[in-house]
Symmetry: C2
Subunit: 191 residues, 2 copies
């Protein structure tokens, strides 16, 4: 069980929401402060800097993606099953952290110290994804189309989920997983 939410956690949550809406660079410390009903200077009792806020928001979630992808990648499943698990992973994270996902997608280039590390995480993730698709094609589970196109197309959809999920609350995660699996996977699956 995690501790009750600290003031710092609140600031991070509010910041992620604002960053997601207008982008990191467009949001000022005074914007964040106003959203919390305090003055900008007060933020610095809790956080180190604006840049640090960005780092916290992005790196935590990027690490979660990479770790869980590695688990999927090294699990005993068919390639198709692994793709299904990847879809579930993205849906799960997009449900829990829609704002952070937006910041990850659009503001990663404003990381400074941690930019290189972030890119390593992303590359690791994408390499795993590519390998799974390649295995699926080799084993005959999937049709033999250009690997890059399959990866790109599925990943584009999954990365955009954060934009879409908050608008469609009627749709339960399980329902969404089922439908998305059908749309994304049937097109590349052999019978």
């Amino acid at each position: 069980m995690s501790k009750t939410e600290t003031r710092k956690d609140e600031i991070i949550k509010v910041s992620a929401k604002l960053f997601k809406e207008k982008g990191y660079s467009a949001i000022t410390m005074r914007d964040i402060a106003k959203a919390m009903n305090i003055k900008a200077a007060s933020l610095y009792n809790h956080i180190k800097s604006k840049q640090d806020l960005l780092k916290i928001i992005i790196i935590s979630i990027a690490e979660e993606f990479t770790i869980r992808m590695q688990e999927i990648s090294s699990s005993e499943s068919t390639s198709i099953e692994k793709l299904q698990k990847i879809i579930s992973l993205h849906i799960d994270i997009a449900y829990h952290y829609p704002y952070r996902m937006g910041v990850l997608n659009n503001d990663w280039m404003h990381l400074e110290e941690e930019l290189e590390y972030y890119l390593e995480l992303r590359n690791s993730y994408e390499d795993n994804f590519r390998s799974i698709v390649e295995s699926g094609i080799e084993s005959g589970e999937m049709i033999d189309t250009n690997t890059e196109i399959i990866v790109f197309s599925i990943l584009s959809t999954l990365r955009s989920l954060y934009l879409w999920i908050p608008k469609k609350e009627a749709l339960k995660p399980e329902e969404l997983t089922k439908n998305l699996t059908q749309v994304l996977i049937s097109g590349i699956q052999n019978d």
Copy 2:
């Protein structure tokens, strides 16, 4: 035949590239000036304001999308054929204006005067898309999955093309169209 490129056109092109890389808010007029080897104040001999630059970059391309979508929508084709044309449309624009596409995708919310107009264009585009999918389901051309999910999934991929096309110059537009059509459409098509 269009006139030779004016200085203003050059500025727009350079700005679009910079905006795409770091976002509208993160780019200063001095950044743009430096990329053109002039001083920031000199930019104002050619353009009205930074905001105007954003408007020019986004609105022109948003209008092109909407117009060409309307042509496709009102053409005499099956729904599947219309989807193929939409894919070609996105590939075509992403090839010609990869930077503008990036700005359109990520910085539309920084439009001020023209924000409402932009949203109208986008809604018109999406409504047409949705109608085409609905017709396809009704006519039995496409499988009867959740319309929203089909629209979301295809559109997410098409909207991300700008990120991907510049990296894969080996792939010819025709080749890309063929592959993408297969991956995106086969999964939702009835036999």
